[in-house]
């Protein structure tokens, strides 16, 4: 799971123009919330344990606390400011190193993040672990030989895929209905195990980034936008005038 700036948070660039200033509000990356929910539902059906993992500075622990409150059993936090600047390849390498002694059957990630939007970390992790993967998943059923998943394709098409486990699945938003944390859950979360992994523990697994953000900036507008202002009644009148005389749709 990943912590990302809140959807409507105003973003400011840092002094070097390579990243945003950290003083914004954060929330859980939305597709990751669906991935967690799906893990909890699978556990309710098949028993087992749900472990949540994130990387990032101390603030990212909030994502794990919320997940534990919703019902995850334990958490792993790769904690260091430097994890924010890793590319997807090295982030996946750090995760692979942190979980090398675990015995997971399934790893879920959200299909992409709301900040970078690379849609890569889950698939890279699968390759590093030598596991099969499937992306943009809308349904997961256990079978005698592994799992059957429903992949979303483009333009309203779908496909079922049978695959063995262990496997990595990237989960599409909307696969399920998200639950809220209960008061009891929030209370219990405080006593659930949270393992902190310092950078030093995975340092030997990660290398130089393979790609680099040279410059982050506010995109240049390519379109001329006319702002329509005034009281609601005035705006309505002005708009109808545009619809009739400029767009000719009335």
């Amino acid at each position: 799971m990943k912590q990302v700036p809140q959807k409507d948070a105003p973003l400011k660039l840092n002094e070097t123009g390579t990243w945003i200033r950290e003083d914004v509000s954060y929330e859980v990356n939305e597709p990751d919330a669906y991935a967690l929910e799906e893990a909890l539902r699978q556990r309710e059906k098949h028993k087992g344990e749900v472990v949540v993992i994130t990387s990032g500075p101390a603030r990212a622990q909030q994502v794990l606390r919320e997940a534990l409150a919703k019902g995850a059993d334990r958490a792993i936090h790769l904690e260091d400011d430097k994890f924010v600047g890793l590319d997807a390849f090295n982030t996946a390498k750090a995760f692979a190193a942190a979980i090398k002694d675990e015995q997971f059957d399934l790893i879920f990630t959200g299909l992409q993040s709301d900040d970078y939007g690379y849609a890569q970390t889950g698939v890279i992790l699968a390759e590093l672990l030598g596991w099969p993967h499937a992306t943009i998943i809308m349904q997961i059923e256990k079978t005698d030989t592994g799992i059957r998943v429903k992949r979303e394709l483009e333009a309203g098409f779908f496909q079922f895929v049978d695959m063995p486990t262990p496997a990595v699945l990237t989960i599409q938003s909307g696969i399920n209905k998200l639950r809220y944390a209960t008061l009891i859950g929030i209370k219990q979360a405080k006593n659930k195990p949270l393992r902190k992994v310092p950078l030093a523990e995975v340092q030997s697994a990660i290398g130089e980034n393979l790609q680099k953000i040279e410059k982050l900036y506010i995109p240049q507008k390519t379109k001329k936008t006319e702002h329509i202002e005034g009281a609601p009644g005035e705006i309505a009148k002005k708009l109808v005038d545009k619809l009739r005389n400029e767009l000719r749709v009335l």
């Binding site: 992306t135 943009i136 496909q159 599409q172 040279e214 506010i218 329509i228």
Partner: protein, 331 residues
């Protein structure tokens, strides 16, 4: 020998995905800027006819990479086939469209080769000998210029609509086609895909709609959909939505606009409380006119809007419905 750019076009079940022309246009533009050679490849069990179709464009060469194990598509087979091919050819840059299929295998392929993908790019720059790729970040609020710091081959994917497919230059004569058979060992393919299918018939076809009123998260509650419906009715248009609205079940999935829903280009697209995530924008940016209403003045939807109204949609829509009705009644 100049460096080579390789465009891997996309085929599904023997048909070229049209978005591949956009990637060829992108490849031609990068080739013109850098002086690198441009080639293309198609991967499949019987790629010959698509290779011939692609060879009509201005390209130095087209490779038809074939193996019976490449049908049906699996990430294991595609990554194995391309790894074999790319390891022997060593192109500088590999370009693909940012489709769901490419997203499924290209991070695996790059990782297997110890390389990286700059994904979902919208453009490139070549300045003082350095090639950078432009991509959207933070749901389109910011843009980034990203460079490769690793060895070639470099992988980049382009967002749907980033380049114009109809601008792909024709060649003076057909490019030579070379068939390359790849060997995919038993046991490489672990996934067993079933037939591709469409969920219950698409009841609503928004692709032909002239006016679309679309709602996003800003509508807040299911019961508020009604006000958008009234506006759509008054305008004689169709109601649509961004993905979160359909995920919540407030409107059926067949009214969803965006990469996982329908792609539309109406005369008028009225976006109510839609922030403008990339996945939504790719489905509607071809609209002739876009009016956006959003309370957040920094919402990315305003970047592509012709008319912007920053404000509370619940204040603005009711009088708008009345004015539209008046205008229609008055003729």
């Amino acid at each position: 020998m100049p460096d080579t750019i390789l465009v891997v076009v996309e085929q599904r079940e023997g048909k070229l995905n049209r978005v591949s022309w956009e990637t060829i246009t992108a490849g031609q533009a990068i080739a013109a800027a850098t002086g690198w050679t441009l080639e293309a490849a198609v991967v499949g069990s019987a790629p010959a006819s698509i290779a011939a179709e692609v060879a009509g464009k201005k390209l130095a060469k087209v490779y038809a990479i074939e193996s019976p194990k490449l049908e049906p598509y699996t990430p294991d087979a595609f990554a194995a086939a391309l790894k074999q091919f790319l390891s022997s050819k060593q192109p500088k840059l590999v370009l693909m469209p940012h489709t769901y299929q490419v997203r499924d295998f290209v991070p695996k392929l790059a990782t297997a080769m110890g390389r990286t993908v700059i994904s979902d790019c919208i453009g490139f720059k070549h300045e003082s000998g350095k090639l950078v790729f432009t991509r959207q970040m933070f749901q389109g609020k910011l843009a980034a210029d990203v460079s490769f710091t690793s060895e070639a081959p470099w992988f980049a994917t382009f967002q749907n609509g980033a380049f114009r497919g109809d601008k792909a230059e024709e060649g003076a004569s057909a490019a030579p086609v070379e068939t390359v058979s790849v060997d995919i060992a038993d046991g490489v393919i672990r996934n067993k895909p079933q037939e591709v299918f469409k969920e219950a018939k698409q009841a609503v076809d928004l692709t032909q709609a002239e006016i679309i009123v679309a709602v996003g998260r800003g509508i807040k509650e299911q019961k508020n959909i009604e006000i958008a419906k009234q506006l759509a009715d008054a305008l004689g248009g169709d109601l649509a939505a961004s993905r979160p609205i359909c995920d919540s079940g407030w409107l059926p999935m067949d009214r969803q606009i965006g990469s996982s829903g329908q792609t539309v280009a109406p005369k008028l697209y009225l976006a109510l409380g839609i922030s403008g995530a990339i996945q939504h924008i790719v489905g509607m940016k071809g609209s002739r006119a876009i009016i956006a209403v959003n309370k957040d003045s920094e919402a990315p939807i305003f970047e592509i809007a012709d008319y912007a109204i920053v404000g509370n949609l619940f204040d603005i829509i009711p009088p708008l419905i009345e004015e539209v009705k008046k205008a229609k009644a008055g003729g």
